[in-house]
């Protein structure tokens, strides 16, 4: 690449290559520009303007209002800030539950269906993948029926003597409910008195509502199939030799999975976690078809709030501002994740366990594995 660009463009037989390259990519660049870059830039402008939804946002009647829309959401003290805080709270709990659960489940399923001895692997792969290809609207509607107060899930629970909650209509936070079991109904004054984004700390710590928990289950159910596929692909690209070597060294199946297979899956794990994180922060269609933010605003998410404030309340600037704050949140968490999962040198302390003991101290050798285990705990 650098070699060709350094060459003077007019000389030689390859002179027109760059031009034709641009020519070939031009349609795609234009399409991307038209449907991606321009709308994004316009939305960015709207988030800094007082556009009210009539006529073009680029017309002369629309004024630049600086950070007004952002400050209304972040420090306004009014309903807008409170709603945004609630939406962030709901979505944060959603992410905290869905991302680890779906990653663990999809990895588990992938390891299961990747086993050579499993009969009918094709069937299981299809079965596990099936929820992912079904439309999210259809699955949401199905979920509404399953989790109805008299629905199938509560029937099942009643067989084991549990009176199921009224899932999609129950605004109580599950952590609050847990504390409620011990008679703690209101939090300490430190938590209830102080607020962040218009929502008290006690409410931030309340956990997802029962309704949101049903959505968490829905997300895990639908997406784990997709990510299972990614993990299968990752697993199949691993060579058998490392695992075999580990077997020769006497590692059992559990150790092989945690110490040999999983570290090699790091790139796939990063992909799955990142895609999961992005998908979770953008959750919209389930909310739109399911609960529209209810009960008690406990399933309100930033994506849905953005839609609602723009299309229903004509607060286009705030709607766009929410979208950009959401974008920054996603970028931030992706970077954090990248940093956490980055390849690092094995620390000296850990490394010691793998080192060959220096010669001349054969007596210490047998104790080495034992110390190694302790060091890792």
């Amino acid at each position: 690449m650098t070699a060709t660009t350094r060459r003077p463009s007019r000389s030689g037989i390859r002179g027109g290559e760059a031009l034709s390259g641009y020519l070939f990519t031009a349609p795609m660049l234009l399409l991307l520009g038209l449907f991606l870059v321009v709308p994004v830039l316009m939305a960015l402008w709207v988030s800094f303007s007082d556009w009210s939804g009539r006529g073009s946002p680029l017309s002369g009647d629309v004024h630049f209002v600086g950070l007004n829309n952002y400050s209304a959401l972040l420090t306004g003290g009014g309903l807008a800030e409170q709603d945004f805080g609630t939406a962030l709270k709901n979505n944060a709990w959603y992410v905290v539950l869905v991302v680890p659960l779906q990653t663990a489940l999809s990895l588990f399923l992938a390891v299961l269906v990747n086993r050579q001895i499993l009969k009918g692997r094709g069937f299981f792969r299809t079965a596990f993948y099936f929820p992912s290809v079904t439309s999210s609207v259809a699955i949401t509607v199905l979920w509404l029926f399953l989790f109805n107060s008299t629905g199938a899930v509560n029937k099942l629970l009643s067989f084991i003597g549990v009176k199921g909650p009224n899932w999609f209509n129950d605004p109580d936070g599950i952590i609050h409910n847990f504390f409620g079991l011990f008679g703690v109904k209101t939090g300490p004054a430190v938590l209830t008195g102080n607020t962040a984004l218009g929502v008290s700390w006690w409410d931030w710590l309340g956990g997802p509502s029962v309704a949101m928990t049903a959505f968490v289950l829905l997300a895990v159910f639908t997406t784990s199939g997709t990510f299972m596929l990614l993990f299968i692909a990752g697993l199949q690209s691993l060579g058998g030799d490392v695992t075999e070597a580990a077997m020769m060294d006497g590692a059992n199946g559990w150790q092989r999975f945690w110490k040999v297979t999983l570290p090699q899956l790091r790139p796939t794990l990063f992909t799955v976690l990142t895609l999961g994180l992005i998908g979770c922060w953008q959750v919209f269609d389930q909310i739109y078809t399911g609960t529209k933010g209810g009960p008690g605003k406990t399933t309100l998410t930033p994506a849905f709030l953005s839609y609602q404030s723009a299309f229903n309340n004509q607060q286009w600037g705030q709607g766009a501002a929410i979208a950009f704050i959401l974008f920054m949140i996603i970028v931030f968490f992706t970077l954090v994740q990248r940093w956490v999962l980055a390849e690092r040198k094995v620390s000296k302390r850990r490394m010691r366990g793998y080192e060959i003991p220096p010669s001349g101290t054969p007596v210490a050798a047998p104790t080495q594995p034992g110390r190694d285990k302790e060091g890792q705990r």
């Binding site: 009539r54 605004p171 605003k297």
Partner: protein, 417 residues
């Protein structure tokens, strides 16, 4: 390296410029409409588009045939399209500068569209202006201007399951006249199988009690927040005692989507709903026998809520004169009576009342409510506050009415500042 970056910048700029040129070809943006015609209205030969949010086939058919009649008599073409998400489609139309000419508009949306200039304030030019119920006209008045013609309306009344009523040993003389009566019969009607009164746990139902106590979230013009008034606290306290008695439950807690479903499924012996419930009962629960009564009188007299939509006309419409004519026809007595027959709502004009009462003797309690009904707050952003209020009132059973209303008061005051 630097050379590459500049190249990418050039390519990006070219792509953006090209895309902008293309989007400019799409027209829509910044198209000036020529305003000329009678009474400041635009007029042209252009066909009209009518955008409606339909409740079902019956409504679509009725509007279609009324508009087709008008096309025949006026010679101006008009097409009806049914929106799957009315708010979204309206918003898209307004931002593109090519909105539907005539459309359904809810009281919530009025303030937003009126304040950004999307709507034509044509109310005062209507020939039948004085025929509309004054409280409905108030619902569609913003900043002192009567914006659009109420297309119809509904009020809340009390629906009673007659079989359960008789089973509890009650007679016609027991139909509740006061809050105490209501509490008594609701208790009598509560059995392990069903609750006495099952209503939607939202402002749009519970506010009926507020109006009976003499309150509402805002004053009639929606210019002043009155959420934490004593009347409202009294109303919520009353509802709370009914919940505590076990004789009132929200539809959601009964496993139903709304009051009508709880009532139709026999989960509640009484409910408070509007006249739309009659359609649901005939279609979904034809075997349930029921009767309709006016809501009981509260400490401050009679009270109920009214709900209405209007026929909005777009400020950007190229043919406002024809649109106004169409709306006059659609709000005429004959058309409104036909709509009422097809899908239930009550005519918004006084001159149609007598005929309507004769046609629907069982539904008279709904129309009687028109005399004392109050509307929902219409200040810009009020819909959000109501949603917030709804989310709090869901936990009224364990909440404190004063705290709930104080929070709502604060939010409403922020709107009218």
């Amino acid at each position: 390296m630097q050379r590459r970056t500049t190249r990418w910048l050039v390519v990006g700029a070219l792509a953006a410029a090209g895309a902008l040129t293309l989007s400019a070809c799409g027209s829509g943006f910044s198209s000036g409409s020529s305003t000329s015609g009678t009474g400041g209205l635009t007029s042209s030969k252009k066909a009209l588009t009518v955008l409606i949010g339909s409740s079902g086939d019956a409504e679509t058919k009725a509007v279609n045939s009324a508009v087709a009649d008008w096309t025949k008599s006026s010679g101006t073409k008009a097409t009806v399209s049914v929106a799957s998400d009315l708010n979204q489609q309206l918003a898209q139309g307004f931002s593109a500068g090519k909105p539907a000419d005539v459309f359904y508009l809810s009281t919530d949306a009025l303030a937003g569209y009126a304040s950004n200039g999307s709507l034509l304030a044509y109310g005062d030019q209507l020939k039948n202006k004085s025929d509309f119920y004054p409280s409905l006209v108030k619902s569609f008045t913003f900043d002192g201007k009567f914006y659009c013609a109420p297309k119809d309306f509904s009020t809340l009344a009390l629906e009673i399951n007659t079989d359960m009523w008789k089973a509890a040993g009650l007679t016609d003389a027991d139909i509740p006249k006061t809050w105490d009566d209501l509490a008594t019969v609701a208790k009598k009607l509560t059995t392990p199988q069903h609750v006495g009164l099952g209503i939607g746990g939202e402002y749009a139902r519970i506010a009926a009690f507020m109006t009976q106590a003499g309150g509402n979230l805002m004053n009639a013009d929606s210019t002043k927040a009155t959420a934490n008034s004593d009347a409202n606290i009294k109303a919520l306290d009353y509802v709370k005692t009914l919940i505590a008695d076990g004789s009132l439950k929200y539809a959601k807690d009964l496993g139903a989507g709304w009051g009508g479903e709880a009532f139709g499924k026999g989960l509640a012996a009484m409910t408070i709903e509007g006249n739309w419930i009659t359609g649901a009962m005939t279609n979904d629960y034809p075997n349930v026998k029921y009767t309709i009564a006016e809501l009981p009188t509260g400490p401050a007299g009679k009270g109920t809520m009214q709900f209405t939509n209007c026929w909005g006309i777009a400020a950007d419409s190229p043919n406002q004169a024809a649109a106004l004519k169409l709306v006059e026809k659609l709000t005429s007595s004959s058309d409104q009576l036909a709509f009422s027959k097809a899908f239930g709502p009550m005519p918004s004009i006084k001159s149609a009342a007598a005929t309507w009462k004769k046609d629907n003797p069982l539904l008279v309690p709904f129309l009687k409510g028109a005399d004392y009904a109050k509307g929902v707050p219409t200040a810009k952003g009020a819909a959000d506050v109501v949603t917030d209020f709804n989310s709090k009132i869901e936990s009224l059973a364990t909440g404190d009415p004063k705290t709930i209303l104080d929070a709502t008061q604060k939010n409403l005051e922020a709107l009218v500042k």
